[in-house]
């Protein structure tokens, strides 16, 4: 069991190492002739105006909040799904009620206009 996770850890390190190694080799092979115009931030050939880290639409935040609700739900539902075969009908109906409440939340967000991209 612990060995399995050791393999996952080793694999994670190796899969980080391989692209990093490739980029390092490319950095050794490639020419290096920087100048200030080449290194300027790309903005369709114009001089960059203002900071790049500007304000963005608040819409992205609203969608992320809705996403968070459903992601937390998945945390609860995965153990339920694993145990599903042994559960009595009562527990299944319980989970369905739980999903219905979530569906109600989604409908509420929908009616409130949180799902419209303005």
């Amino acid at each position: 069991m612990l060995n399995d996770w050791l393999y996952v850890g080793v694999f994670a390190l190796v899969s980080m190492f391989l692209p990093a190694a490739a980029i390092s080799i490319a950095a050794l092979l490639s020419p290096k002739k920087p100048n200030s115009i080449k290194n300027a931030t790309y903005e369709c050939g114009m001089e960059p105006v203002g900071p790049a880290w500007a304000q963005m639409k608040v819409q992205y935040y609203v969608f992320t909040l809705i996403f968070l609700v459903f992601d937390v739900e998945a945390v609860l539902l995965f153990p339920w799904a694993v145990a599903y075969k042994q559960l009595p009908l009562y527990a299944v109906v319980e989970a369905i009620l739980f999903i219905l409440i979530l569906l109600g939340g989604l409908l509420y967000a929908w009616r409130k206009g949180a799902l419209e991209w303005l």
Partner: protein
């Protein structure tokens, strides 16, 4: 165990014997074995991309009535190798004002996130990296790591287009993770385990026949997760130049592409593993290498469908993309999981084939009802186009340039 039945395991056992022969303790032998195994699998995946790039460019070319790469080697097979050699010698331009760590970590992460999915997928009955008990959860978690790579690229580049692209990508990937996760619950429920090996072994019949509605949602969501056309808003050339990778050049830019191509292939083999029976097929239980062949055939069929999807659909607008997710796929997947849970429990005591048929019928009914509801919901009036007569160019001789003075 004979060589021809299962060559991969045969070689692994032989290598293990060799390592034990050196006289290391079992702990060290295990760790060294793991490192070598991980290296071989991950490097194999990275080199496989070269073939995938050729395959995809060739297919896209044929879909668009072009030849695709056809100059270097037979059928242009060496074209991606030449491209790779070229991209290795390109200058790595680092624009001024970037966030150094985020900028350099992003391409590495976007490849690593995809490679890590290869660690847990069973390629045949005996050949898999590792069988962890939370396999499918691991896939979802590692998929989320790719999103981190994209947002690091967008934030670190110090570029407005990159930031818009990254935000779009994150909005899209987060949104599509919801139906992805919920429809991934169905195989877990039917199997009673999250391990991918168990899920493949329990597929009798394949889950696409038991739960086609869940499979459809899973497929669309995994296409969106790969971020390709029609879901390629994050790198819409005509709107935001190249999205989150505007400021990248040389191999750092190439790494994003390696990640994307590999992700498309990985998404198709995850779909095969979860819904199309993985390595299962006639004779695959006795001869494991046959399972690998079946697995690859199925994966390439799904991958072909994915490329067809990419080659034939125009790009979504961002509101359409969000509507498809939050107003169609998410409610659909929630309804599917409720119906499957209830139907499967009510018919738990009946015969297996009867339960399968009832589940299939329930799924198809959900799909038909959903299709009707969507048709009622969308606006059907479209502006009339193409009613006017247009002159059609039809030259008499295709090989003579007009105005060149030459006679046909």
């Amino acid at each position: 165990m004979s060589f021809w039945r299962d060559p991969i395991i045969f070689i692994i056992e032989w290598a293990k014997g060799l390592l034990a022969g050196i006289g290391w303790g079992p702990g060290w032998a295990t760790i060294v074995g793991f490192v070598i195994g991980a290296f071989v699998l991950a490097a194999g995946a990275m080199f496989f991309v070269v073939f995938l790039i050729w395959y995809e460019r060739k297919l896209i070319g044929r879909l668009q009535d072009r030849f695709g790469p056809n100059r270097l080697g037979p059928w242009g097979l060496f074209q991606p190798i030449a491209d790779m050699l070229k991209i290795f010698t390109k200058e790595l331009i680092t624009p001024s004002g970037v966030d150094w760590i985020a900028y350099n970590l992003a391409p590495v992460l976007s490849v690593a996130a995809v490679l890590m999915m290869w660690a847990v997928t069973p390629f045949s009955k005996t050949f898999f990296g590792v069988n962890i008990s939370v396999g499918i959860l691991f896939l979802i978690a590692v998929g989320g790591l790719g999103e981190v790579g994209i947002i690091l690229a967008g934030w670190g580049s110090n570029n407005k287009y990159a930031l818009v692209g990254a935000l779009r990508a994150v909005a899209q990937l987060c949104s599509y993770e919801v139906p992805f996760v919920i429809s991934a619950l169905v195989p877990v429920m039917l199997t009673g385990s999250m391990s991918l090996v168990d899920i493949v072994e329990a597929q009798n019949p394949w889950y696409i026949l038991v739960a086609p509605a869940a499979a459809l949602v899973f497929f669309i969501a995994s296409v969106a997760e790969t971020g390709r056309a029609p879901f390629d808003l994050a790198e819409a050339e005509s709107e935001i130049v190249a999205g989150y990778n505007v400021e990248y050049s040389g191999l750092k830019f190439g790494m994003f592409f390696v990640g994307e191509f590999l992700h498309a292939f990985t998404a198709s083999f995850i779909f095969v593993t979860v819904f199309l029976g993985g390595w299962r097929g006639p004779g695959a239980d006795q001869i494991p290498v046959l399972g690998l062949v079946y697995f690859m055939i199925k994966t390439f069929i799904v991958y072909f469908a994915l490329i067809l999807f990419r080659g034939t659909n125009p790009r979504f607008r961002i509101d359409q993309m969000m509507d498809l997710n939050w107003k169609v796929l998410t409610p659909l997947s929630l309804v599917v999981i409720m119906v499957i849970a209830l139907v499967d429990r009510l018919f738990a005591s009946s015969a297996d084939w009867l339960r399968t048929v009832i589940l299939l019928a329930a799924n198809l009914a959900i799909l038909v009802v959903a299709e009707r509801l969507i048709r009622r919901g969308v606006k059907t009036t479209r502006p009339e186009v193409g009613s006017r007569e247009r002159p059609v160019a039809s030259p008499d001789n295709l090989f003579i340039q007009p105005g060149s003075g030459a006679k046909g």
